[in-house]
């Protein structure tokens, strides 16, 4: 007998078509390829329109700050002549405390324009706060569905804080236990309410992030005479990398290297009830970063507008302990007390700046708010309560879920390169696996896969040939 979940999932296409306010079928070109730029521009808003919408929503135009003390700290142990200038875009200055306001503002604008009575988003992250805040300003009803607790009803303090802030902005918050069926429950709610699905992965949301890349390119040009040589982006579902990179290109910053960064949570299962509270980062980690980069269309929309592999020039991972250390250092040295998840890119940037010449410029493109629950002390206390060993030492000995090792010296902050070749291969394998069995990719498919993996036709053809050999 089909279960309740099967019944609602069978109606997924019909429910999402109404809830997303657009039909994704018109962009499909083959079992593999679709018109990505067509999807991204179908909403009809120019970059200037989006800037105008965000200004009226109180979003964006956050301070870009040079971090001279952190720069000198890196130079104190870098080789002579090395140690890039480090900058940060203080996105915590947005109304709900993160860059996610940019994402939410466009979805809320669309919901209002199209006459939806409310919005629904499935998120345990800062996006919930952003959607709730923007919905409150627009006078729309708002439901946030969160994966909040393990089966003991124990919740990460960071997620509990995010429940609190959504309720502070007047949202109805559903706090679920661990499990991917959260999505089918969201479908039921969309069906019941008729609200807009304010997906993290819609073209509206990702277009909203383009202003972040655009702003920072212009601000860096005003400050240093040129766009940054490197931008480091905390990476999870891919929207941050995608939107920022697209915005940089729109500002003409085509030479800027896009470096994505995630906290290494390898070995922890994201759908496991027992692993759920053994991690100290609820986003910005490899548990989302790798699967979403290598198969973006696993998202809650038919085609994901966030396609990070298209834009990444490099992918760095850092350990939890390194990020907590850098969070403390940023607070003490720069007067910026910000949330640890958003500082993932900062930890990677300190490692990157060390290997770059002193005239290079590295921009960390976001921060997030902190406070009770989200603060790094709260995270470390919670980790200890869950039986995780927390100690000072060499972070190279970190084992996610077992220990958190706080560096003893800044020299020990060493980001690791996650090989992009492995990600591209994995992406192509996933794309082929989702096409009908025996489907032979056309030249147009190869071209699409090359663009979607930031490589070329030759590379894609070689991967396909290698996969065929097994």
């Amino acid at each position: 007998m089909p279960s309740k979940t099967d019944a609602i999932m069978a109606r997924r296409g019909e429910i999402m078509k109404r809830a997303l306010g657009m039909d994704y079928a018109e962009f499909e070109e083959s079992p593999i390829a679709f018109d990505y730029e067509g999807l991204m521009t179908a909403h009809g808003y120019s970059l200037q329109d989006i800037i105008r919408i965000q200004r009226s929503a109180g979003v964006g135009q956050t301070p870009l700050l040079e971090l001279r003390n952190l720069t000198d700290l890196v130079r104190s142990y870098a080789e002579p002549g090395m140690g890039a200038r480090i900058f940060v875009k203080d996105e915590a200055a947005n109304m709900a405390g993160s860059f996610k306001d940019r994402r939410a503002s466009i979805s809320i604008h669309v919901a209002k324009q199209k006459g939806y009575a409310g919005v629904i988003a499935a998120t345990s992250g800062n996006y919930g706060a952003a959607v709730s805040s923007q919905a409150a300003r627009a006078g729309l009803a708002c439901i946030i569905v969160q994966e909040a607790f393990d089966s003991r009803h124990v919740g990460q303090p960071e997620i509990i804080e995010k429940s609190r802030i959504c309720e502070a902005f007047g949202a109805e918050v559903l706090q679920l236990t661990v499990g991917p069926e959260l999505f089918s429950h969201m479908l039921e709610l969309l069906d019941e309410t008729g609200y807009l699905a304010a997906s993290l992965y819609s073209a509206f949301g990702v277009s909203g992030i383009e202003t972040l890349g655009y702003e920072l390119a212009e601000e860096m040009t005003a400050l240093t005479g040129a766009p940054p040589t490197h931008v480091v982006v905390t990476h999870a579902g891919g929207g941050n990398t995608t939107g920022t990179a697209r915005g940089l290109k729109r500002a003409g910053a085509t030479a800027t290297q896009i470096v994505s960064a995630s906290v290494d949570l390898s070995g922890l299962h994201m759908a496991s009830d027992t692993d759920f509270n053994r991690k100290s980062f609820t986003t910005g980690h490899t548990g989302f970063g790798v699967p979403f980069a290598t198969w973006p269309d696993r998202a809650d929309v038919p085609r994901n507008a966030a396609r990070a592999l298209r834009y990444m020039d490099r992918y760095l991972t850092v350990s939890q302990g390194e990020v907590f250390y850098v969070t403390e250092a940023m607070s003490k040295l720069e007067g910026l007390e910000r949330g640890p998840s958003g500082n993932t890119a900062m930890a990677a940037a300190l490692s990157l700046a060390r290997e770059l010449p002193a005239d290079a410029t590295v921009v960390v493109q976001e921060t997030e708010y902190t406070g009770a629950g989200k603060h790094h002390w709260a995270q470390l206390n919670f980790a200890r309560e869950q039986g995780i060993e927390v100690r000072a030492g060499d972070p190279a000995e970190s084992v996610p879920g077992q220990n958190i090792i706080i560096p003893e010296r800044p020299e020990q902050i060493r980001a690791k390169d996650f090989p992009l070749a492995k990600m591209r291969r994995s992406y192509v394998r996933n794309a082929l696996a989702h096409a009908p069995e025996g489907y032979a990719p056309t030249d147009a498919d190869i071209e699409f896969l090359a663009a979607d993996t930031n490589s070329d036709a030759e590379t894609v053809e070689r991967i396909i040939a290698e996969l065929a050999e097994g």
Binding site: S3, E328, G373, W377
Partner: protein, 112 residues
């Protein structure tokens, strides 16, 4: 009036519901998750008097009416900062000293 063991109509309360029993859950879950029901907690205004552990209807912030077991009345939040991690308390002092030493050294070299 709200009390520690129950609610009156109109009180702001929290309820719990089971969305899926273990047998109804998705087939591709890790064993530890599959053995547990999928549960949800949500808040709203009570539509009747009830004791903790009783079923009650609530009206949520979006106006939906949802039935569940009453788990809390006037529910709040208790998450904190907690005590500092001893591994981090000296980071500010030590790194400021390093930066000062680096700058003093750079100034000395510039003056040579």
């Amino acid at each position: 009036m709200a009390s520690s063991d129950g609610c009156r109509t109109g009180d702001w309360v929290e309820i719990e519901r089971v969305l899926l029993e273990p047998a109804e859950r998705s087939s591709n879950l890790p064993e530890d998750t599959a053995a547990q029901p999928l549960r949800v907690w949500l808040k709203g205004f009570a539509r009747g008097d009830a004791r903790i552990g009783d079923e009650v209807d609530i009206e949520t912030m979006t106006g939906r009416v949802v039935r569940g077991v009453l788990t809390d009345v006037n529910p709040g939040y208790t998450h904190t900062f907690g005590r500092p991690a001893p591994e981090l308390t000296a980071v500010g002092r030590d790194l400021r000293a390093r930066i000062d030493a680096y700058r003093a050294d750079a100034d000395a070299k510039a003056g040579e």
